[in-house]
């Protein structure tokens, strides 16, 4: 008997039943097809969209991310250049193909469109959604948005459209399901920069991932 069969048999024997009968199976299959939501915190769900954007900013800042608002996508390169200058960083970044269409050279930035490599100090990726409840960014892996960009640099800059801010993580998943795209290899929820409290329970920023997380929020 394979270990798979042994384990499944043992589960059924202890639950004192055979494989799920038709009606019981139909019930759990239906639950999988139409997942019920658990209790949804009112914190974000009770707000209008403008309120959710404000909450997103407050929660992201509480998690030690910084948020910079710009009016339109065309303003993103200049805003990013400003952030790098302010931080005393070279005007050089590795970015996701999804954002390659903006006029980076016009803002004086030297760019490479590829996955991140060790030594890349600043990277830039697009967010698929923002979750107001916790100030969380949702990033999807794919050819135009490699996951290494999210973890290897010192400074990670993420571009998020204000219209992509939703109330809860459940809403973010519904947005992904409705988008018609296949589930990507990796879905990253990111809330603030990397940190550790493993030495004497003292919180320190910048463990293995980015030391700094900057969000450029586009649109009102």
């Amino acid at each position: 008997m394979s270990s798979r069969d042994f384990i499944l048999d043992n589960i059924r024997r202890h639950l004192k039943r055979a494989e799920l009968a038709d009606s019981a199976r139909a019930a759990v299959e239906a639950r999988l097809r139409r997942p019920p939501r658990g209790p949804i915190p009112a914190r974000a769900a009770a707000l209008d969209h403008a309120g959710q954007v404000e909450l997103f900013i407050a929660m992201a800042e509480e998690a030690a991310a910084s948020v910079l608002r710009v009016a339109a996508p065309a303003a993103v390169p200049a805003a990013v250049a400003g952030l790098l200058q302010e931080a005393g960083l070279p005007l050089r970044l590795t970015l996701a193909a999804a954002l390659a269409g903006l006029d980076w050279a016009g803002a004086g930035l030297e760019t490479a469109v590829r996955r991140a490599e060790n030594g890349d100090r600043v990277t830039l990726s697009p967010a698929f959604a923002g979750i107001a409840e916790t100030g969380t960014l949702v990033l999807l892996s794919g050819p135009d948005s490699p996951t290494t960009l999210n973890f290897l640099p010192d400074v990670h800059v993420v571009v998020l459209a204000a219209t992509d801010i939703v109330a809860t993580s459940e809403d973010a998943w519904d947005k992904l399901r409705a988008s018609g795209r296949a589930l990507p290899r990796t879905v990253n929820f990111i809330t603030g920069p990397s940190r550790s409290a493993d030495i004497e329970q003292t919180l320190q920023m910048g463990a293995h991932g980015p030391v700094t997380l900057k969000i450029v929020l586009v649109g009102a």
């Binding site: 270990s3 384990i7 043992n10 589960i11 059924r12 202890h14 639950l15 004192k16 494989e19 799920l20 199976r25 759990v28 999988l32 997942p35 939501r37 658990g38 209790p39 949804i40 915190p41 009112a42 914190r43 929660m59 998690a63 996955r115 060790n118 916790t134 969380t136 892996s141 794919g142 050819p143 490699p146 996951t147 290494t148 999210n150 973890f151 809860t168 459940e170 998943w173 589930l183 990507p184 290899r185 990796t186 990253n188 929820f189 990111i190 809330t191 990397s194 940190r195 550790s196 409290a197 493993d198 030495i199 004497e200 329970q201 003292t202 320190q204 910048g206 463990a207 293995h208 991932g209």
Partner: protein
């Protein structure tokens, strides 16, 4: 790892006299409970989430075979492989096989208690594969040749001087004269050394906080990002997860995530919550070429349908140990195996045998704080009582204890005798007291060596009850 749970009493005695440990435990008691309380105060829905989480876990366990098969089918559809392991030995064998096939020399590891349970590191090392722990706390204790003393804060028993000492002893390629006094200096050094490890590893091994049947996702939460670098840089990603990590849907995982992070560190959400769905896709510039999930049973299927099924709801948040007066006094190592605190006191006898771990369910004051903070409402004290009963049934309890219990039950089931002895006992104890206190008592020095016992005053409870009853009738 070799269990030392049989030596619990001696372990505990040493822990109580370990000054460095006692200092570290102050940090624990001062930190986690307050952070949890603050986080919960901000979420009015928390109690409703606990009820929902309990019911959701129960539902999942009742249909565990179905959800495991669904999960497996989705992983396979996404180009991953699922391996089933009956026990620790089989799981180790599977992981080693994957490492060998990949020609792996080094593997990086995300934090995983289940790989502690199956003693994976020792096995890989013995077979020529070097495992490197990448969670900062896990890395520190690996350097020291220790095991975690806490399920989410593995190095909580150490102070920064001990960490610096370990770094100086093991990072011998570095300048011995370098400054290494502050935690930021140590973090920077560990970050640099582990970054190289991430880049050179052939295989990355992580655990899973959840496995989602609907999507075939494995989910991990971390604050450092080490679990992510572990899975996106090497060619092969191996997830080791025990059966009860399964949840039906993404929505269900969201409920448990809201409970988990608040109960664990008091965070609204972890910095990184990562959903991994199979191997690298066509056109992807990064991500692992192979994705494996090892589903470990190791006695869990046998807990279903019985008195310990409730324990399979556990989401490993650590709230029970963070609030336990026993854990808070002795730390995690005294428990002698992988899982400490109240959850360990229930799970360890199941995994290594009550004959090995009988002390653990007895190491409880039954104050009930663990149950009161458990996010999925596991009745931990009740489950510890079940183990005490099993221990008694198996004649594992000491003779004096069994004699005492036998004598008690003989007396307590004979009301006349009980009343007489209680009356005599109370009178006798009163005479032994001075100024209403008993400072020394034969056969009870274990108590009176540490504190005075108040001497009984007046009548016994039963006498008072009878008097009161008479008074009411008159």
């Amino acid at each position: 790892m070799q269990a030392t749970s049989l030596n619990f009493k001696e372990n505990a005695r040493q822990a109580l006299h370990d000054r460095a440990l006692q200092k570290a435990l102050v940090n624990l008691r001062a930190g986690f409970p307050g952070k949890r309380a603050k986080a919960i105060a901000r979420l009015p829905e928390f109690e409703a989430l606990r009820d929902y989480g309990r019911d959701l876990k129960n539902h999942t366990l009742e249909h565990l075979d179905f959800y495991l098969e669904q999960f497996e089918a989705r992983v396979v559809e996404q180009g991953g492989r699922v391996h089933w392991a009956r026990d620790a030995a089989e799981a180790r064998e599977i992981v080693l096989g994957i490492c060998r096939e990949a020609g792996a020399k080094t593997v990086t590891k995300g934090k995983s208690m289940v790989t502690e349970e199956i003693a994976l590191n020792e096995y890989l090392e013995a077979n020529g594969v070097q495992p490197i722990e990448t969670d900062l706390g896990e890395y520190i204790i690996q350097l020291r040749g220790e095991h975690p003393s806490h399920i989410i804060a593995p190095a909580i028993h150490l102070n920064k001087e001990q960490v610096a000492e370990a770094f100086r002893a093991r990072h011998t390629e570095r300048d011995p004269g370098r400054p290494l006094e502050s935690p930021p200096q140590m973090l920077k050094e560990a970050r640099e050394i582990l970054r190289a490890a991430f880049l050179h590893a052939d295989v990355g091994i992580t655990g899973a906080n959840f496995c989602i049947a609907e999507t075939g996702s494995t989910v991990i939460v971390t604050n450092e990002g080490n679990g992510d670098l572990t899975q996106i840089l090497p060619r092969v990603h191996v997830v080791v997860a025990s059966l009860e990590k399964i949840v039906p849907t993404v929505e269900d995982a969201m409920v448990l995530l809201r409970l988990l992070t608040r109960s664990a560190t008091g965070q609204e959400i972890s910095v990184y919550t990562t959903f991994s769905n199979g191997a690298r896709r066509p056109g992807d510039a990064d991500g692992p070429e192979q994705f494996h999930v090892v589903l470990l049973d190791n006695g869990r299927s046998g807990m279903l349908g019985g008195e310990f099924q409730d324990m399979l709801r556990c989401i490993r948040c650590s709230a029970c140990m963070n609030h336990c007066p026993v854990y808070g006094a002795i730390g995690g190592h005294a428990y002698g195996w992988v899982y400490p605190g109240p959850m360990g006191a229930v799970l360890t006898p199941q995994l290594i045998g009550i004959d090995q771990a009988g002390h653990l369910p007895n190491a409880s004051t039954f104050c009930g704080r663990c149950e009161s903070v458990c996010p999925v409402r596991i009745p931990l004290p009740k489950l510890m009582r079940h183990w005490r009963e099993r221990e008694f049934e198996k004649h594992l309890t000491p003779a004096a204890y069994r004699f005492g219990l036998g004598a008690w039950s003989f007396i307590a089931s004979r009301p006349q005798l009980y009343r007489t002895l209680a009356r005599l006992g109370a009178r006798l104890l009163r005479r032994l007291g001075r100024d209403g206190r008993i400072r020394a008592l034969p056969l009870a020095r274990g108590w009176t060596a540490w504190r005075d016992l108040p001497a009984p005053q007046g009548k016994t409870f039963q006498e008072l009850w009878t008097d009161r009853h008479k008074g009411q009738r008159a």
